[in-house]
Symmetry: C2
Subunit: 414 residues, 2 copies
């Protein structure tokens, strides 16, 4: 039988020592600093969080715009079906003018509608004969056709983008179309992911007896980078009291955010808690009523640096990074839409009577449009070999017995 | 009344000229080249498509692993409750040995279980008295407790990751934990997004009469970059026959993929089709029975370069990039999971009797776990001011009247 920390009664904390998931969320949110904002070039803005409003630079379209290649004419019930070419109005040209009702101007898609015209006839409905266009027999032009009217999409000054939006393709198109070459976006904080422990070996080093490779830092860094946090270094500190003090002091000096990927334990050789305390980092919370990830710790440094100490087990570390660190960091950037999804369980899940359960799951919409979550429970919180089959985890409240298939739950994506 | 190309009967193509959405998909898939794969460092692999299998380098855990700080002992029914400290086994140390059943070794989380031990007692259940540990009164140790057994997560050689997975946090953790410092990933093709037209002005240039700013290229580049396609340049070609020939030839020489953001029209001053033909690019498809995006064109160059010519209207361009170019490029990289989601319409949508409709929509899961799509129709295919409120578009088959609220449809995310 395999024993686990979280299920062993002898070490079950009294519930009064644990804070709830929502209390933890609120405490973290309350202590997050702002990382400010700055201007970047449009090219560098992709995927960043917008921190300004964007209004329409001009009417869209900015002029009555020709929608087809063909001719522009002055429409009337009695308009002639034979029209002399009086000139042309190509896309990009200043506005031309049509003087006569029996003449036309050649036009291309995207051109300004020439002065004196109110109808565009596409080339497919025309036959050219020298300097004259003849309307084909089936051509029945109507006033206003193939004209994309000035301001019909939106008028100058319309609010198009608001602070807090993440800049995807559509937002980028609107920035470009409205002349926003320099964009105010949220700064990304400078972050260090810190691992400790002499048993941890680099990914490319020989693995000795009693050793394993560092991997939590790589996972957490990937999660951060895929959410646009690109200023993230990984630092490893050996189990040495003096070195730990010096390095922690340096890291707190240089970075806005520390993420301890190995957690804060009470181990004899864990010098991190003392080193943090020596630098004036104070605990905001420790131990949350959840499984996995109970040992989660969060603290605040003297100049507002935040310290997330993730539990050391791989599943716990990634769950806590996803559930607490990422949403808090995104909210601190001013991002507006970071709520979790709601899913429907496709399979039952064991509940814990005292703790919120976070259960990795594979999600997929079914043929009714429901987002179905198939639990992929790991054998222990150390077992991450099954996580690649999942897209995140469901959050289930404490309870007795099992949450049956069909239960609705919130879902957090990796 | 505002006329639109796609709805004007006079220019309605006979349906036989149009190919279906699924035919277009199949034709594109059939002609996509492979872009090969190559090794990158683990750091550079985040978000890329894996092109190798990864098996467990060793058992996980690689040894019987201590799960708590405390002591390791030899368990028996009659084990003493007073245990002499015979030494210590810290994380990262080679395996120690416990000789006597009345002694113990101090252990830390992550350490090897010492030889001769089969039980770990956490420090919280102990009291130290000189060189002796006393079990607290409520301590009831059991054989095997707090030991994470060698190979219990997975055994050496277990398949952990397969070719075609996109490398997120969990996959990155497994690469690191299994010593994969160099990772075989799909190459990203070299791409150029090409815009043409003298009416198009740079984002930071003064806007003259009859001009608009380039924005389709920015949108498509953002879509590509957010899917990991990072080798994408933007090129603008003026409306000049000689220049168009030279530049198109150069671009086909230098890149694997061209995306024409302004489409291939029959306009008098569109020199692109001729320039492509002159370089041996042959048409694979042109005109798809869909709205927006009917003028979509796809072709193939003499050394396998692919050319996507997106329609010129902003909504059409982004829809076609999302519906055709991105899935095809991702599949060409060997990515395995790129199917669309299924959603439930929250609002009715006008259907087109002949054409597949792509309708931008805002999606959100409801309190039953259903992914609900609220249509956000644009006024014209040129109107992209409402797109920031959407996450993608629903695809609806041709039909008469309206698709009612509640209709199930596929959904493509930007």
């Amino acid at each position: 039988m395999l024993w686990q920390l979280d299920s062993f009664p002898g070490t079950m904390d009294t519930m009064s020592e644990l804070i709830s998931v929502s209390q933890a969320e609120a405490l973290i949110a309350e202590h997050m600093p702002s990382f400010g904002s700055g201007q970047v070039s449009l090219d560098d803005a992709v995927g960043r969080v917008l921190r300004q409003s964007v209004h329409a630079e001009h009417d869209h379209p900015p002029f009555d715009r020709v929608m087809m290649d063909g001719i522009a004419v002055r429409w009337s019930e009695a308009m002639p079906r034979r029209l002399r070419v009086a000139g042309s109005q190509m896309a990009g040209m200043r506005r031309q003018s049509l003087a006569d009702a029996d003449a036309c101007l050649e036009v291309t898609t995207g051109a300004m509608l020439p002065d004196g015209c109110d109808c565009v006839i596409p080339v497919e409905q025309l036959r050219r004969d020298g300097d004259v266009y003849l309307l084909r027999d089936d051509c029945r032009p109507m006033a206003g056709q193939f004209i994309h009217r000035r301001g019909s999409d939106c008028t100058q000054g319309t609010l198009l983008l608001s602070s807090g939006m993440r800049l995807g393709p559509a937002e980028m198109a609107l920035l470009a179309a409205n002349g926003v070459a320099k964009v105010e976006v949220a700064n990304t904080p400078s972050m260090a992911i810190v691992s400790t422990g002499d048993e941890l070996v680099e990914v490319d080093a020989p693995l000795g007896e009693g050793q394993i490779r560092r991997s939590n830092d790589t996972a957490v860094r990937a999660a951060l980078r895929l959410h646009g946090f690109d200023r993230v270094v990984m630092e490893h500190i050996a189990d040495d009291e003096a070195e730990t003090r010096v390095r922690i002091a340096e890291l707190l000096e240089r970075h806005d955010v520390l993420v301890l990927s190995g957690g804060v334990s009470m181990g004899q050789r864990d010098y991190v808690p003392e080193a943090l305390a020596a630098q004036g980092v104070r605990k905001v919370l420790h131990r949350i009523a959840q499984k996995p990830g109970k040992p989660m710790w969060f603290g605040l440094g003297p100049r507002g640096q935040v310290v997330f100490a993730l539990p050391g087990n791989p599943v716990s570390a990634l769950v806590c990074a996803t559930r607490y660190a990422l949403p808090a960091l995104r909210a601190a950037q001013g991002e507006s839409a970071i709520s979790p999804e709601t899913v429907c369980l496709d399979g039952e899940v064991d509940l814990n009577p005292m703790l919120v359960s976070f259960v990795p799951a594979h999600v997929k919409t079914d043929d009714q449009g429901r987002l179905m979550a198939t639990p992929v429970p790991s054998k222990t919180s150390g077992d991450f070999s099954s996580l690649p089959r999942t897209q995140g985890f469901v959050q289930l409240p404490p309870g007795t017995g099992k949450a049956p298939s069909g239960t609705v739950a919130t879902f957090w994506r990796w």
